[in-house]
């Protein structure tokens, strides 16, 4: 019960963060870009979803001279934000995880970008079937919302395309591979690869 309360508190915290732009106090803050991300989240062949917000912490424009002598321009950004994800593995578990994500994104002048993102957070699994508990005297009962809490880490590499630069659409598409780790899973580490594909909507672009 305690874990459920913690979990719901985190959900509300995320919801508040996602509604950040509607906060009257936000008018006093520097106008930095905010993105909303919505992705299909797949672990191997098992589907799920992923939603989050990205707040720009810093952005640097830079250029470098290629071997050909041409100068290429790019923008390096650091973004931070909460992400709520879920996948469904039938018969095994449903996993809901809330993370804080740091994203190092590098967007070229061609509008293509690459990114690297470590995440840290909390995972709650829900077992993939009715769960029974047997007490010392052999009495069997059904356990509601059975599952486990885990510390969660993930590292991801991805790429995408930013339409806001080429077509003035406040939208990006992205594809990313993540390797997630949960601990303590049966006294050891649980690893699982995941793939996300989706859209990033630019709620507020640079002023």
């Amino acid at each position: 019960m305690k874990s459920i309360k913690i979990f719901l508190s985190l959900i509300f915290a995320l919801s508040a963060a996602m509604g950040f732009s509607q906060n009257p106090d936000s008018a006093n803050l520097p106008k930095k870009p905010i993105n909303i991300k919505l992705c299909y989240n797949s672990t191997l062949i098992y589907g799920g979803a992923r939603a989050g917000a990205e707040f720009q912490v810093k952005a640097v424009s830079a250029s470098r001279i290629r071997k050909s002598g041409r100068e290429s321009f790019y923008v390096k950004e650091l973004l931070i934000g909460p992400t709520l994800s879920w996948y469904h593995h039938p018969g095994f578990h449903d996993n809901v995880y809330l993370t804080i994500c740091s994203i190092w994104r590098r967007t070229k002048s061609t509008c293509f970008f690459t990114e690297f993102s470590p995440e840290i957070g909390y995972s709650r699994t829900f077992l993939g079937g009715t769960t029974y508990l047997v007490n010392g005297s052999g009495r069997v009962s059904v356990e509601k919302l059975a599952g486990y809490n885990y510390a969660f880490l993930s590292i991801g590499e991805g790429f995408g395309y930013d339409f806001s630069k080429s077509k003035s659409l406040p939208l990006m598409i992205c594809l990313k591979i993540n390797m997630m780790a949960m601990y303590p899973y049966n006294s050891t580490l649980y690893l699982r690869p995941a793939m996300e594909a989706g859209f990033i909507y630019k709620l507020r672009d640079e002023k």
């Binding site: 993939g128 769960t131 049966n186 649980y190």
Partner: protein, 346 residues
């Protein structure tokens, strides 16, 4: 508004996770979990549940999984007759938990098995007929259960397939079989180089084996059956790949659990464990099945059970084309013997 939406979606997800209707058809596939001292063990029940006969596969390892037993052949020849229970032991396969390594011992695993039988009886009815099938390490676990809870009377039959109930005797018999077969094969000029290495090692290690030596022999035993022409050779990767996708195996969970459990501290206790002296407590009908070329658990272990068990209703079957994995190497023989035994004692 957004927060309400998120919470609403979440409630729907959670409700979907736990909803289940227990049906009793002829082609069922049902998954449930049994919580026991920090571990949630996955139980997959497939097949004909109208029969009210349940055959529980207790897998080997420790640390492997019951999921590979769920082959097409077993589906067609056993699941059509009975409910087949593919159980993943604690810290194995699809079983889940947090810090539960302290519960990883034979006593707790024996209690877990009892809890799972209680749940099956509760879920499918007290009139359910329960048969325990122990393979490899599962032989030790089922022997532990049947010599501990022998007065419970919840089990109607014991099937012991390429299993071990006495690890020290197991090591002695494995060495003996490797040595005898090795010398024969060298005489026949078959895989001389490989057998020579095994025979030399066995000659250098006559007894009082350490855990490392026991593991070395297990490794030789696994390799040895691949040197025998009569044994049906199986490619575990090729034969499991399709099954893994179809049955939605949690592959990384199976791998991480295996790596942890196969190196856990309780392995040191296991290799000195024996139930030979307690077998007279076992009164249930028993079928002993061994591969003629099983070096890992040689059929001498079956002779020991046959001579010591507390029932006269005991029989032994030998497959002449299998080693340690009879259900994959000689599935026709395996299914025929298992079904024949259950029909006699259901």
């Amino acid at each position: 508004m957004k927060s309400k939406l998120v919470v609403g979606i979440l409630i729907l997800i959670l409700a979907a996770c736990q909803k289940e209707t227990i049906s009793m058809g002829t082609g069922e596939s049902q998954t449930f979990y049994v919580d026991s001292n920090g571990a949630s063990m996955r139980v997959l029940v497939e097949g004909n549940l109208i029969s009210h006969v349940f055959l529980i596969f207790v897998h080997g390892g420790p640390g492997s999984s019951s999921l590979p037993y769920n082959t097409e052949y077993i589906s067609q020849h056993l699941e059509n007759k009975y409910g087949i229970v593919y159980l993943d032991q604690r810290n194995a396969g699809a079983s889940q938990g947090n810090f539960n390594g302290s519960g990883l011992n034979l006593t707790q695993m024996t209690t877990d098995l009892r809890n799972i039988i209680l749940v099956i009886k509760k879920r499918y009815g007290d009139d359910s007929r329960i048969f325990l099938l122990g393979h490899s390490f599962g032989g030790l676990l089922t022997a532990s259960y049947l010599t501990t809870y022998y007065i419970d009377g919840m089990v109607n039959g014991w099937l012991f397939v390429d299993g071990s109930h006495n690890y020290p005797l197991n090591d002695t018999l494995t060495r003996e079989k490797l040595l005898n077969t090795g010398n024969e094969q060298i005489y026949l000029k078959k895989h001389v180089k490989e057998w020579q290495e095994i025979v030399t090692w066995c000659n250098d290690h006559p007894g009082n084996f350490t855990l490392d030596q026991s593991h070395q022999m297990e490794s030789f035993a696994g390799a040895a059956e691949t040197y025998i022409d009569e044994v049906t050779q199986i490619d575990p990767v090729a034969s499991n790949m399709g099954l893994a996708l179809k049955e939605q195996w949690p592959l990384t969970s199976m791998l991480m659990n295996y790596l942890y459990t196969s190196n856990a501290a309780f392995i040191k206790d296991l290799y000195k464990t024996s139930f030979s002296s307690q077998l007279k407590r076992v009164k249930v009908p028993t079928l002993l099945l061994f591969g003629e070329y099983d070096f890992t658990c040689p059929l001498g272990l079956g002779d020991d059970i046959f001579n010591r068990i507390g029932t006269l209703d005991v029989s032994m079957g030998i497959s002449y084309k299998s080693g340690h994995e009879m259900m994959f190497q000689d599935p026709e023989f395996f299914c025929r013997e298992v079904a024949g035994f259950i029909e006699l004692h259901r």
